[in-house]
């Protein structure tokens, strides 16, 4: 069975925003960031990469394509397919966690 690239698992035109950004509680240890979402009562651990993506979404609603562009500006080069897949997977995970949702 062929493995579907992550980009095909997500609606690229969907605009995502962070649901309760002002209510999140954060704590950080070593290289991980721990988030408590009072809306769900769930506690999640984010690495620095995931935290960066959430920060970008907290700045304002974005599509996955917008996230690609912003990341390319940050790292000052074109994203390779692996990195794009990681971004998409992270967005899907955030959606599953309930901390972002399509506008």
């Amino acid at each position: 069975m062929a493995i579907m690239p992550s980009e095909e698992l997500i609606n690229k035109s969907a605009v995502y925003h962070v649901v309760n950004t002002a209510d999140f509680l954060w704590t950080s240890f070593e290289d991980s960031n721990i988030l408590y979402d009072p809306a769900s009562g769930h506690t999640q651990v984010l690495n620095d990469f995931a935290r960066e993506i959430l920060d970008l979404l907290e700045d304002g609603p974005k599509t996955v394509s917008h996230l690609f562009s912003e990341f390319e500006e940050i790292i000052e080069k074109e994203l390779d397919p692996d990195l794009k897949n990681k971004i998409v997977e992270t967005v899907i995970n955030f959606d599953n966690m309930g901390i972002i949702e399509p506008v």
Binding site: E30, S32, G41
Partner: protein, 346 residues
């Protein structure tokens, strides 16, 4: 006498009288003579103080009363009216279950889903009742399924699954100079950030029973006096209860801030070792061990974050109680200045 009357949260006579002080209560059960104790425990029950909780205890079976007093004889009781946190009654539900094939049923103020046990192991029912009420009803303190001990300003939390030896380790440390907070329920005051002692019967299972008897006998000639009889045939095998050290009962209200979190792993085939862990791992182990984290929510998250920020953390793997105590004390000695706590990452 109607049992529901004895279970009232307000002890009768005059519920508008001032509530007795919960601190520095000098009335110990042992000060009552045997017949008075027996009469009160089997009558309306005795309102007593166990850590931060007041609890009315009523026991209809003589053998259970004897075992209960072996553990709790030095605990304070109230003679004045008191607002009760908990209430526990152990009794036979009818004459048949009281006398012919006696069976100890435990009734608390929660939903009572416990299965009655034979009266000869009724002490197990009583302790299950204590655990049930705290596990289900305690929302004012953050609760950890953990052994907790303290000494010289050091508050040590040892979260662990059942079978990891945390009760044995907490008890072992407490008979070597540490204050026993609990072998089972770590309680944290959310406002003060302090660990609250809740010393009760230490529940020893199966192979840990001879281990602790040998351990206590090294310091106490009268070591058998600290143990109840062994109760075989419980759902967890053979259980025996150990009375906390006298000093831990005396210091039942002495609180300590937590500054060490150690995850104990008992492995009889391992070499003893201290293994570093990340603070993130320690954080999630505390979250996972907390029975009321979800109920308390944001304050629970912030409290655990603060504990981990200010604590040294590690995992110990040990093959015996001697090595476990050595590992704990070695790790704490290495980081013994509480002022340094939290400056290193494990």
């Amino acid at each position: 006498m109607n049992l529901s009357e004895t279970n009232s949260f307000i002890k009768k006579e005059n519920q508008f009288m001032p509530v007795a002080s919960r601190f520095h209560n000098e009335n110990k059960l042992v000060k009552l003579n045997d017949s008075e104790l027996d009469k009160r425990l089997s009558g309306d029950g005795i309102a007593m103080e166990v850590g931060p909780f007041s609890v009315n205890v009523l026991i209809k079976f003589k053998n259970v009363r004897e075992d209960f007093l072996k553990i709790y004889r030095d605990f304070p009781f109230y003679d004045e009216p008191i607002v009760l946190d908990h209430s526990i009654s152990v009794f036979g539900r009818n004459l048949f279950r009281q006398y012919l094939r006696p069976q100890a049923f435990v009734e608390t103020e929660m939903n009572n889903d416990t299965i009655p046990l034979p009266a000869k192991i009724g002490m197990v029912s009583l302790e299950m009742g204590f655990n049930w009420q705290v596990a289900m009803g305690c929302k004012q303190y953050l609760m950890f399924h953990a052994g907790v001990v303290a000494r010289d300003g050091i508050g040590l939390i040892m979260p662990a699954m059942s079978g990891s030896g945390k009760s044995t380790l907490a008890a072992g440390l407490s008979f070597r100079g540490w204050q026993l907070h609990s072998d089972e329920f770590g309680l944290l005051d959310l406002d003060a950030g302090e660990l609250i002692p809740y010393p009760r019967a230490v529940s020893l299972k199966n192979q840990s029973i001879p281990v602790m008897k040998e351990w206590v006998s090294r310091e106490h000639d009268n070591y058998e006096d600290y143990f109840t009889p062994a109760y075989p045939g419980t759902p967890k095998g053979t259980i025996c209860y150990l009375r906390p050290p006298d000093q831990s009962i005396e210091e039942m209200h002495k609180r300590t801030k937590p500054n060490f979190v150690i995850l104990p792993i008992f492995d009889p085939n391992s070499e003893p070792k201290i293994r570093p862990i990340t603070k993130t791992m320690a954080f999630f182990r505390l979250v996972a061990s907390s029975a009321n984290y979800g109920d308390i929510g944001e304050r629970a998250f912030s409290s655990i974050a603060k504990i981990i920020e200010e604590s040294f953390v590690c995992e110990i793997i040990y093959p015996s109680l001697d090595t476990a105590v050595e590992l704990v004390e070695a790790f704490i000695a290495e980081h013994s200045d509480p002022k340094k706590a939290g400056q290193d990452d494990g």
